[in-house]
Structure formats: structure tokens, C-alpha cells
């Protein structure tokens, strides 16, 4: 299967600090790649580079076999075909839930307002949030806000969805409702790159798991193999520490 996302020898440093050193990764269609690793290992930076929120220092990123890191590519058009969900939700506080969701479809994808609202309501219903459509984000729980953020990013029918530690700011009860939403998207065939600290979730949803260590992929492979029978000593060490928590 041809990859939706292809990352080739991507480098990124902030000043003297090398955050990504030659990271290569292919994400085939309808699969989920989960990035694990300690804080500062480069997971978030990789996602931000893919979404072109950070400019890479070397290498290339391809979306549907087209290089999006070329300076000739319209950044906005490339982003239109990707969705990203952040750790801190980043909903627009001055807009109602439904307007948060329909903003990009209406303004960027030029969908008619009625149609965008109808589609948004279908998604809200699916994720059990239809009664919150006319609320402002600050009236919602963290888990509800994060689900709205997920809906907002898939409302534009992205080719790939990037999830950046989306449950890190939530308490354990709320984590599950958000992860259930992602599992559902996975079953529908959404192509995803997920940075997470939830190992059970990684196991459940990942086709492939990549363990990042100091900006390099130390180990990658099928979820069951990497998480249950890690080969690299650093992966073993990391998983041991995580399971102690």
C-alpha cells in the first residue's frame, strides 16, 4: 500500500539543541503509527514538522507522494489536507462548539454554511456531544473539549490525522472517552500518527509503534512486538519505567 505520509531523513534543531536527527517513517493508508518515548524525545516536534508548524532543517516530508516541505508548496493548502489535535485542546473560546467545527469547512473549503452545520451535527452526534453544539468551550469538561477538537480537525476530511499527546491534560476518567473516540476513527480507516504516553491505548490502536530516543527512532515494528518484546535496550528501559508508574 502506498504511504499517505512519508517522512525521509528529517532533521530539526532549535539552536544548539538537536531535536530530530534523521527520522524516517512511512505511514500507509488506513493505518495508525504510534510514537512513544520520553518527554523531549522529539515526538511533538515531529508532529509539528509534519503539520508544517515548524520548518525542518533537512530531509523531506511527502503527503500523498507530493513533497510538502518544498518552499514552493502553499502551506495552507498542505495543511488543509491534514488535521492536528493538540494536548491543550486550543479550541477558539469566543466561538460556540458548532462554530469551532464549521469555521474551517466554511472559510477554507468553501462548504455552504447549512451543509457544514449539518455535517458537524452528524459528527457531534456520533461522539455524544450533540447537546453541546451551541455551548461555548469553557462550559465543557476537558474530555468534551478534546473530543470537540478532534471533531474540528476531522470535519475537513483530512488525509491524515496527527494527535499530539491529546490525553495528557485530562484526568483518567476523561482519558477513556477521548481514546474511545480515536479507536472509533481508527476502525473507520482514518490514517493517523499518534504521540502518546498511554501504552494500553498504543497497543490497542497501533499498526506500528516507533520508539523515539533523543531524536532518533531507536526501535520500530508492529505494536505487539515493540511493546511486549522490545529488542532495543533503551526501549526495554523506557517501557519498564512507564509500567512502574
Amino acid at each position: 500500500m502506498r504511504p499517505v505520509l512519508s517522512i525521509e531523513k528529517v532533521r530539526k534543531s532549535f539552536g544548539q539543541n538537536t531535536v530530530l536527527g534523521e527520522v524516517s517513517l512511512q505511514v500507509p493508508e488506513h493505518t495508525a503509527t504510534v510514537l512513544i518515548g520520553a518527554s523531549g524525545s522529539g515526538k511533538s516536534t515531529l508532529l509539528r514538522c509534519i503539520n508544517l508548524l515548524e520548518q525542518i532543517d533537512d530531509g523531506a516530508i511527502y503527503l500523498d507522494e507530493k513533497e510538502i516541505t518544498s518552499p514552493l508548496v502553499n502551506v495552507d493548502e498542505a495543511r488543509m489536507r491534514m488535521g492536528i489535535v493538540f494536548q491543550s485542546f486550543n479550541l477558539f473560546p469566543h466561538m460556540r462548539v458548532i462554530d469551532n467545527i464549521t469555521l474551517a469547512p466554511i472559510k477554507v473549503h468553501k462548504v455552504k454554511k447549512e451543509q457544514a452545520r449539518a455535517e458537524a451535527k452528524i459528527l457531534l452526534e456520533k461522539f455524544g456531544l450533540l447537546d453541546k453544539a451551541e455551548e461555548f468551550p469553557d462550559r465543557l469538561s476537558g474530555g468534551q473539549q478534546q473530543r470537540v477538537a478532534i471533531i474540528r480537525s476531522i470535519a475537513t476530511h483530512p488525509r491524515a490525522l496527527l494527535l499530539d499527546e491529546i490525553t495528557s491534560a485530562l484526568d483518567p476518567v476523561l482519558v477513556n472517552e477521548v481514546l474511545a473516540a480515536i479507536t472509533e476513527l481508527k476502525q473507520e480507516g482514518m490514517t493517523m500518527v499518534i504521540a502518546t504516553h498511554e501504552m494500553n491505548f498504543a497497543h490497542q490502536v497501533a499498526n506500528e509503534v516507533c520508539f523515539l530516543h533523543n531524536g532518533f527512532i531507536a526501535e520500530r515494528g508492529p505494536a505487539a512486538q515493540v511493546l511486549q518484546d522490545p529488542q532495543d535496550i533503551r526501549t526495554k528501559e523506557f517501557l519498564r519505567k512507564v509500567s512502574l508508574n
Binding site: R79, S88, A104, K107
Partner: protein, 294 residues
Amino acid sequence: MTHSSNDNKNSNESWYPSELELQRQKVRSQQSRKRIAIATSSSVLVLGGLVLFIISSPGWELFKQTYFDIEYGIEVLPIVAKGITTNIRLTIIASILITILALLLALARTSKAAALTPFRILATVYVDIFRGVPLLLVILLVGFGVPALGIRGLTGNVLVLGTLAVVLTYSAYVAEVFRSGILSIHPSQRAAARSLGLTQAQAMRYVILPQAIRRVIPPLLNDLVALIKDTGLVSILGVIDAVRAAQIQTSKTFNYTPYIVAAILFLMITIPLTRITDRALQKSIAQQNSQGTT
């Protein structure tokens, strides 16, 4: 202690305050009565003393006649009140123009688009100049300088020129208020908007600016109060506003009561406005606190 959270209504129905709580409430009400008594007596003492001091001063009778001649005040009230309508009209027209100009200046200064570079430079220079020159000087320069140019078609109407001077100066102040509001919106909001595919301009228009404007409403109202008062400065060009009207009356009688009348009229507008500003500020602080860091 009041039970503010009634999560468990069933158990609350059978709740009576304990002996200990009743005792506490009793002590608290005693304490608050004592506080009120102290506040009242100290206020009477200080304010009463102040009034007594002024009234008993040797020049009080003369002072009262020259500044607080009630009959004369009532006589000049219609004239001064007519003058203040000029201040109000000037304020309304100026504040609309200021808002538009200031918003354009703030957008020019915060934009990163290459094509807007000359506007960014111009806006910076403009703000530097008009924020640094006293308003009175700008009024004099525009009011007397522009007609001196003798350009045909350019107005010699002092009211228009006075308004123009006020707009020029206040736009610089208000532009900085807008700019600080724009810069105060967390970068994650822009990132979220951009990640959805919105362009720089769309992110500014639909995400950043609406939040920024909401956040700067209190300081803008503050500037509005200042603007109303500063419209009085255009009287120097000969515009008959409240200040000028009062001045004309005073110069006829050498009684300063018209000034007091003008001051009271200004206060009647500015005090309610300051109260509204306070309330807007409280509301916006409460809102920002409830939003946390999102």
C-alpha cells in the same frame, strides 16, 4: 459557613447548624457590627472635619460667591449645556474614526506579510510621533497650520480641524491598545487556526482579532473617557464647546461658576462611563480566569 454546594440534597434537608456553628455566626455578626461602627465614625470625623475646615476658612464667603453662585449657575446652564453637545458630537464622530484608523494601524504593525512592509514602517513612525507629541500642540498645528497651507478645497472649519487633530493623536494611543490585545492572544490559538488550513489573514480575522478586541474593551472605554475630556482642548481653536462657552460667560462677569457648571456636566457623562468600564473590566478578568490557559 453557608452551604454553597448542594450536591447532596437529601442529606441537606435534615441539616441543622450545630451549636458550634451558631456560636460562630453570633461572634461573626458582632464583629461585623463593630466594623460598621468604626467605619461610620471615622468617615464622619474625617469628612466632617474637612468640610468644617473649608467652611471656616476666612475666604469662604467670597469663594462661595465666585465659584458656587447657584442662581448664576442655573442662568448659564443652557449656554454651557449647548456647548457640551459639541463635545459629545465631536466624541462620537472622533471615536468612530479613531477605531477604524487605530485598527488599521495595529494590523499593519502586527502583520508579517512582505507586501505590507512599507505600511508597517509608516504605522510605526506614525504611532511614535503622535504618541509623543502633546495633543494641545497637534491641535494648534492642525488648526492653524492646515488653513495656512491655503490649499483650495481644504476646510477652514475649526471644528473639523479640531476633530482631525484629536483623531490623529488618539489613533496612535488606541492602535497600541489594539496591538497589545493582538499580542496577548496565545500563539497556540494561531497555531490551531493555521493547522486547520486558515490563512494568516483568516486566522487574524476569525480567531485572533475577535478575542483581542474583547480583551481590550476595558482599556478602550478608559480611552473614551479621556477622549471626552480632551475634546475640551479644541476650544483653543475657537470652537464653542462647553469649556469655551463657560470661558465666555466667565470673562463677562468674572464669576467662575460657569466653569463649575461645565465640570459637573462633564462628570455627568464620565462618571457613569467609568462605572461601565469598571464592570467591563471585572467581567473580562473573570472570563480570562475561567478560561485558564487554553
